[in-house]
Symmetry: C2
């Protein structure tokens, strides 16, 4: 039954009354979502939208295998890690099997925020140092600690936090090394030593800065030489999104000290994790216990195992590489023919298209929403289009996406 | 199929290999849990245990209505709050309907930790002050900020954190006021003003300090007079556990500025919330956005609505009051006849039985586990028995619990 405009307005008014004003809706005309399936979201008026934005439903909205496993386990047992249960162990082993052998120890949390908060805390405890380096458009989560490590939010950086201003286009891997070297020098001047370099390995909130692959390596070596760790925030690139393996750090030829993951891990079920080098976990475990009530709970682990099943059974990493390359070709073609697209970045199914301004990006995003395609904006001034669909997006979906973008550019942007 | 001792050992060894050493198992002989139903947990050997410990499965393990609603929604849509969806609004309205009218604005998170972290952050932002008062056996969560507000963990308190040493038995409500007054004085001496008094309103980690009801009120008034807020951490007492209404603060005749909730909210599904006075939410929302990827997601909200349904339909608050009183009478009878039980505290279905030492409490807890009953220990030195079953525990279950405790006292403690 279609929602009338009156019903829509009533729902909006109820929302504004009951939820905090800190909440924001996407789009000038918010979407009243009532159903999701695969790469499609349906609204209350029966209209469907190609979801080219959401990385959480990584194997597709409401994937039947994931739902089935969730139900099966929820009917039998859902308890915590202070009892001995098989599922957290199975999941930990499966995750470790996707990683270099140095990464040997798993801690479960509920969100990427909890995982990053813990990773930073461990890095400071274990190194005895306090300095953290992040990019100046970084986003790492919602906790008090992480709000000081997420300058893209506009909040002030926390004590001991040093930022590097990432260029959107690097021709030489050495450029990043020089930037991090500068942050280390600033740290020294402040009498601080590095605890960690913390980066999202696809630099999603910076606008998808992927190349040249390998640009992290030398900088990580420098940080380590001064006693700091490398924390790879895989909340965005993890679970096959880059098409170049399960984790974003693989493209950079570097083994992190701590890997954090979240959003796509449970295809929408809240489950997340920090994976540590064994000796770090030992050092942390000697000092502190850590119990997270829901972290590693039976249902969350079963759901995460189901997501790993689907990624494997549906060959979604290879699919992300192939469809991502196809989509990138199509977007490159648009870049070549439309001045409003000034740059194209990203890899696999995380792509960033640079526009001249946040205003233009917002106009494109809202016009696409009206035309039935959902994307977002990111990067400095929100000037980059963020294209990050569920992994099972097909070539014909990609054609539809590219075709709709071109229509919007012609009618709503260039024709305006 | 029963697990052999060899299989049990193999699982333990795999766990120790794959999970961080910061994990700990309950009991000298850990329980290999494979099924939960109502107030019972079943192990791999087919043995059942009366669960008199877990508050997370508040309406009973694997409650069919909760599972059914979870599945129904997970098959249709699970998305975030940046689209307009009905469920977070419905849930926010239902929660607000259980609270005094001053509390008017909801923010969803994944865990009580995320809710408390946010509440403290908001209290500091809105008051412009930094001082936080907690009890010296408090536990408020796992984030970096909260580890400094959870002295029971043995971790150092954070900057601006002042503790009060709660007496286990207060004869006069003024005692707590005097303690908080002392903390405020210590704050003044340090040149700091109060942002908040943060307490679990059943003082669970302090050993269940419930009486005299109302002892919070004057202290809260004093904190407010100096510009601070009152944050009621309802992660433990919330959702009817005290039997005296939905929230623990009700017994104290005080209206909080912020209420946080978590554990029982989704009966095991990770969903949590902070509920704020409207003017605080407005002040926070003016300064900052707050987006939590899974917080307020469709399935989490539907599950929380289902939990509220069950609490209402099965009259679990009245049941907690009646069965809690019955259980407390039985425990009082044990206290009267067994010297090892030196005090009884708590209300509804959160009860604390004081023993002379953590060693004795641990012996009782482990003997009960062998006898088929699960409880825990809490409070200073872990010397208090923590009895906190799922709310649907019956009178005959309570009889079984009391009978088993008496057997254990006779055979394993007094006979030892």
């Amino acid at each position: 039954m279609p929602t009338t405009s009156h019903e829509h307005d009533t729902l909006l008014a109820r929302r504004q009354r009951a939820l905090s004003p800190s909440y924001r809706l996407f789009y000038e005309e918010p979407i009243h979502a009532i159903r999701g399936e695969g790469v499609w979201i349906y609204d209350a008026e029966g209209r469907r939208y190609l979801d080219a934005y959401n990385n959480v439903p990584v194997v597709g909205h409401c994937h039947p295998h994931v739902v089935e496993q969730m139900v099966r386990q929820a009917s039998v047992l859902n308890t915590h890690t202070r009892y001995l249960t098989d599922k957290p162990i199975e999941l930990a082993e499966r995750l470790l099997g996707t990683m270099p052998p140095e990464l040997g120890s798993v801690i479960f949390t509920n969100s990427g925020s909890e995982a990053n908060d813990l990773a930073v805390r461990i890095s400071r405890l274990v190194t005895g140092n306090s300095g953290i380096i992040v990019t100046d458009c970084a986003y790492h989560g919602t906790t008090d600690l992480l709000s000081g490590l997420s300058p893209v939010t506009g909040l002030p950086t926390g004590p001991g936090v040093f930022t590097v201003s990432l260029p959107l286009k690097m021709t030489d891997a050495a450029e990043f090394r020089v930037l991090v070297r500068g942050a280390l020098d600033n740290m020294h001047e402040a009498g601080i030593k590095p605890a960690a370099l913390l980066v999202d390995t696809i630099f999603g909130s910076d606008g998808a800065v992927s190349d040249p692959a390998g640009f992290l390596k030398d900088a990580v070596d420098d940080v380590r030489r001064e006693g700091g760790l490398f924390i790879a925030d895989e909340v965005q690139p993890g679970f096959g999104r880059t098409g170049a393996g399960m984790w974003g750090f693989a493209r950079h030829g570097v083994v992190p000290d701590i890997v954090t993951m979240g959003k796509p891990m449970g295809n929408g079920y809240p489950v997340a994790s920090a994976v540590l080098r064994r000796e770090l976990a030992d050092a942390f475990g000697r000092h502190q216990r850590y119990f997270n009530t829901f972290g590693g709970s039976t249902v969350g682990c079963v759901v995460a195992l189901a997501v790993l099943d689907v990624i494997q059974n549906e060959s979604l990493i290879a699919h992300a590489a192939e469809t991502g390359a196809y989509l990138k070709d199509g977007l490159q073609n648009l870049c070549d023919r439309h001045d409003v697209f000034t740059d194209l970045r990203g890899t696999g199914l995380f792509l960033g298209v640079q526009t001249p301004s946040g205003d233009i990006a917002a106009r494109i995003v809202n016009a696409l929403r009206r035309a039935g395609v959902l994307i977002g904006a990111a990067g400095r001034g929100n000037a980059a289009l963020k294209i990050r669909p569920p992994l099972p997006i097909s070539r014909s979906d990609a054609d539809y996406l590219i075709g709709t973008i071109e229509d919007v550019l012609r009618k709503d942007i260039e024709g305006a």
